[in-house]
Symmetry: C2
Subunit: 320 residues, 2 copies
């Protein structure tokens, strides 16, 4: 009997629905109590070797690409897979939804189908591994661009609530991304948000955090406006890959490939951004996860695992 039902949108990713289907298969294999609602081409799903008794199919072959305007999609394209998937999430007993398509369309869909009674604007966070044993939730990573200081305070609350659950801790430390640690540093938005956060009840505000300390484990929640947060998220991943690439080059140059690959394996595991389920939409009724467009099957399985853990309130530390 299925204990957890999760909706997966098969369309819109870089590697095509076949790869996401592989992720669905891996997930069903790994989690016996899982059942899925798959949104995508019915023929393709039926032709796969998935255990179809644990799969519900919503047939759909329309998607929103990264070149489409996601706001237009809201009005014109109600029959696209991301909206069908979010509608199914809202109307069923599914615990959440996973996709690897257009982020804008997903957020528009979250507003359409999954707003809370407070009607908070959803934001997108990423749980990132730090150099300590802890994790930092970076919020927002690109959903709320050009937002105001009160939204940054809202991000602090949403991130704190989320990390309380995810880490099983009482009072997550909240930092504010800035260009200097002193309260006088920042752009206009950050200076205003700093004042508000320092006064805000229920927030354990530890002050400004600079970009070099984003993953130093000084806070469990790192608040940022979406454009700057996106830079930190992508730059962190890019730099980790740059260094790993250089190490591989070094191994080839010096003929020490075997030793080097051991270190690479260790680093890939320590800084495996994909294992933590990529982006998570906060501030809506059920968790929605956005894997990156280039996600492989393993990333989908990891997202499924994280969603199950979230619904169980199982601390991330148990896996560390």
């Amino acid at each position: 009997m299925a204990k957890y039902k999760i909706v997966i949108d098969l369309l819109g990713s870089d590697k095509g629905p076949e790869e996401i289907l592989k992720g669905a298969a891996l997930s069903l294999e790994a989690f016996p109590e899982l059942s899925l609602i798959l949104v995508g081409p019915e023929d393709l799903i039926k032709a796969s070797n998935l255990p179809l008794d644990r799969v519900e199919i919503i047939n759909c072959d329309k998607t929103v690409t990264n070149y489409d305007n996601s706001v237009d999609a809201f009005y014109k394209a109600t029959d696209v897979s991301i909206f069908k998937a979010l509608e199914a999430t809202a109307k069923s007993d599914a615990i959440g939804m996973i996709n690897a398509g257009n982020t804008g369309a997903m957020l528009v869909g979250c507003i359409k189908y999954l707003l809370t009674e407070k009607r908070t604007r959803p934001c997108l966070c990423a749980v990132m591994p730090t150099v300590t044993k802890s994790f930092t939730c970076l919020v927002d990573t690109g959903a709320s661009i050009d937002c105001g200081p009160h939204q940054l305070v809202e991000f602090a609350h949403l991130g704190s609530e989320f990390m309380k659950k995810l880490l099983g801790i009482e009072s997550p430390r909240v930092g504010l991304l800035s260009n200097g640690s002193e309260p006088t540093k920042g752009n206009k938005l950050v200076k205003e948000a700093h004042h508000l956060l320092a006064e805000e009840e229920g927030i354990n505000f530890v002050g400004n955090i600079e970009g070099n300390n984003a993953l130093s484990g000084q806070c469990e929640v790192l608040v940022a406006e979406g454009f700057a947060g996106n830079q930190v998220l992508k730059n962190s991943e890019g730099m980790a890959m740059n260094l790993i690439t250089e190490i591989v080059k070094y191994g080839k140059k010096t003929g020490k490939e075997a030793e080097v690959m051991e270190i690479v394996g260790y680093l890939m595991q320590r800084f495996d951004f994909e294992s933590l389920g990529a982006g998570i939409v906060l501030g809506i009724r059920k968790p929605v996860m956005k894997c990156r467009g280039s996600s492989g099957a393993k990333a989908i399985k990891n997202a499924v695992k994280m969603m199950i853990n979230l619904s169980e309130e199982k601390s991330l530390y148990e896996d560390r």
Copy 2:
């Protein structure tokens, strides 16, 4: 006979004037045709073992700290070392100035003493090593926060001119830091700047660059508003240090310290942000370099070397 004269401000750095003095000593040793104007406590300089026949002293013991307001300093504190150093740069035949103090005060001083006839607002860039053999000049890294789209176009010109000299190339590729590669991605500022840059004459615009590709060698000039640019600069350095720290931990854990330190040495040399002279002020009459506050003597010597190379128009590639 001294061929190059450089001004160095000894005050305002985290490690104190003794460390910057050591950097001055290293530089005089390494470059026989160098002479220095040192701004700092006369007693300290005279008590050092510097070749005083190649040193001019401007006695000063007042500085601007990171907690001081740099704009206030402009009006109130004309007798601080950074202003004396910039005044000496403007009035002497020095080829440029090096310091490791308060960035804001330095920029205010550049406006006061070194504006060009066009009276362009100065910006701060950093030359960063990429995964290819090339370099990327990130401009602005934190001097121009909350600026407008036309300023980003100005940064593109200043960065292009600088990289033409530094790399000895005809037409540096200019990228615009954004949260997506498509022209429709970005905050309001970036979208406007994208349009302007696409139309701008004399700029080899290659479009938006995401944070993960900041150091992938896709452009020689990466244009960013100062707050976002600061995130990329500091996050890149922070992540490089995070990975290097993890590799050292791995070496200790596995008893492979010797092998690991070889790799660390290689990475430190490939991603040595300090060796490229830290921040450089563009858009003023003479080059002014800002080493980070925590700079050691070696960083000062590297800045001196880069400034000499700049004045000789010697391509950076010659050292690579």
